[in-house]
């Protein structure tokens, strides 16, 4: 039998029973659509988290006070086990490292902000002029904190977009005097609204010079030191140099934790990729179910068409021809289901993107290929048994059956 004839024959056989065919295609389509949509969700979550982390800044090395890992015995431990605090001097010292490009100290506390009789609780970040560069933030109005001595600093503040809206409303905020805690600051800039952000939301932040923040909170410690490496390849070098400088400054005691953004990102990436795979696996179960359905339907079809199979044999069809006719039909049904499911899945993913624009719900390529491939393979694999059964039918008995 010529291939175009075989395909036409299988197509006619499939369309000869529209209800059976459409239900089967639907089952296959649901399986493939599930794979596409669920992997789009999983991979979208991964991309979302990664983009959130990237928004913290690039080539970032973060220094935290205290040590989370257990080290070996150190003479320093015998004297004191209390970790040393991070200070502004520590931060400044890091600038000497060759792999370090910028350093931003960060002191965090909460305080009250007031202007024109309005009062609210805010998070105050004490830092320096480099902060905006290190964190890749943008200004909406005015300027950021001026560069200068980290230990001093003019009484100037940069406020977040939401704070500006709530305190000033329609008024101009630039140049106004606000009170934060017991100090007065002049507003010199307003941060651009970010709308979202992992951890610290700059929309509700008041940024002041680090020395003033420390004075306000009556402490000389830092919450974090944000270090920007010269480039992506020097992140590890920067990490090593930062650790070494701080160890020397802290009398040989490793009492700080240095983490790189890459390490955090890699962990999340791995975690969420695994999640996507797991979700894809669950969706694949529905494909297997659809495959069994293909087998069931094809077996029923063989039974229904017994006399036709007997006739084909009498007319000179070989077992191989009958086998390939039924296999072609199974493959066509699976293919139609897979294509329909792919379109449904992409439509579903597009709908999710429409509803949640921040969520990049794109199905990964591998999942699309795996979904389509699994659909075809299960369809054909589960079509083999019915096809073989059809080919083995005894023509005499088949013809006797009406």
């Amino acid at each position: 039998m010529r291939t175009p004839d075989l395909i036409r024959f299988a197509r006619d056989a499939a369309t000869g029973n529209p209800l059976r065919t459409s239900l089967l295609i639907l089952a296959m389509a649901i399986g493939v659509a599930a794979v596409v949509v669920l992997t789009a969700l999983g991979d979208g979550a991964r991309l979302y988290v990664i983009s959130q982390f990237s928004s913290l800044g690039t080539n970032l090395v973060i220094v935290l006070p205290g040590r989370s890992q257990t080290g070996g015995f150190n003479p320093g431990n015998a004297i004191t086990s209390t970790p040393r605090d991070l200070t502004i001097d520590d931060a400044q010292a890091l600038l000497r490292a060759s792999a370090v490009h910028r350093v931003a100290p960060l002191a965090i506390g909460t305080s009250e902000i007031s202007y024109g009789g309005k009062l609210r609780e805010v998070m105050v970040a004490g830092t320096n002029a480099q902060f905006i560069e290190v964190r890749r933030l943008k200004l909406a109005q005015g300027r950021f904190l001026p560069d200068g001595d980290w230990r001093r600093g003019a009484a100037e503040a940069v406020i977040g977009a939401k704070i500006r809206d709530e305190l000033f409303g329609a008024e101009t905020a630039l140049g106004q005097l606000i009170r934060v805690g017991d100090r007065r600051f002049r507003v010199v800039g307003v941060m651009a609204s970010t709308g979202q952000g992992l951890g610290m939301n700059t929309d509700e932040l008041v940024i002041v010079p680090v020395a003033l923040a420390q004075a306000m909170f009556n402490s000389n410690t830092l919450f974090r030191i944000l270090v920007e490496a010269n480039g992506r390849e020097s992140i590890e070098a920067a990490k090593a140099q930062v650790s070494e400088i701080l160890r020397l400054r802290h009398e040989g005691e490793e009492d700080v934790t240095v983490i790189t953004q890459d390490a955090v990102l890699a962990t999340f990436d791995k975690l969420l990729s695994t999640l996507t795979l797991a979700v894809a696996g669950i969706a694949a179960i529905s494909l297997a179910v659809a495959g069994i359905l293909v087998m069931n339907v094809m077996l029923v079809s063989v039974t229904q068409r017994t006399s036709e199979i007997g006739l084909l044999k009498a007319l000179g069809a070989t077992g191989a021809t009958i086998r390939s006719a039924f296999l072609t039909e199974a493959a066509m049904l699976s293919l139609a289901g897979a294509v329909l499911g792919y379109l449904l899945g992409q439509g579903g993913a597009a709908l999710i993107r429409q509803l949640y624009p921040a969520f990049p719900a794109y199905p990964p390529d591998w999942a699309v290929f795996a979904g389509l491939g699994t659909a075809l393979v299960t369809g054909i694999l589960f079509g083999v048994l019915p096809a073989r059964q059809a080919a083995r039918l005894d023509p005499v008995q088949s013809l006797a059956k009406r």
Binding site: M1, R2, D5, F9, D12, A13, G16, S307, E308, G310, L311, L312, K313, A314, L315, G316, A317, T318, G319, A320, T321, P395, V396, L399, R402
Partner: protein, 230 residues
Amino acid sequence: MPALIELSGIERIFHLGDSEVHALRHLDLSIAAGEYVAVMGPSGSGKSTLLNLLGLLDHPNIGIYRLEGRDVTTLSPEEQARVRSERIGFVFQSFHLVPRLTAAENIALPMTLAGIEPAQRAKRVEQALKDYGLADRASHRPDQLSGGQRQRVAIARATIMQPAMILADEPTGNLDRATGEQVMRLLEELNQRGVTLIVVTHDTTLGARARRQLLMEDGELRHDSTIKNK
């Protein structure tokens, strides 16, 4: 002239539960090319089994079947399918048309299965439709055709590959007398053009039309009209 069909020592035994049924026993038969043979006998006499065997749809347990001088009992299933395709045409009592295919497609089916070029198929189907008076019924499906038309489609299908013999199993069984008469005349015309015609029937008047009558009973050949003293 060498015999078209030569059966020697054919036995066909069916196992039904514990009992054995001898559908055919000690069958020796020779049919020459161009003969018109009627196989008659009561139900269960083995006439259908004989027809299936002649059509290579069934296999004897013992014995040799020579078709055009060639032992076909030992052929592989694929080779037998080829012999069926090229040398044998079947006409059934219940027509056995494929319901979803049109009359033209049903007639073309043996050529489609044999992998003949679409252009040649179309030409031969067109000729066949004309020959059997079905030209205006080409795109009708079987359920839109009368019984006589259906059987004409089935005969056109049986002859489209220009077989050496036509095996007809009660070809008029589902037709009224007039239509049956037409169908028989059609088959006899084919026989006059040289095609060997073997008709299975339990209708004695139908059987009497054939030049040679075989009477089957209990799986044995009881009477052969060409052999006087048996």
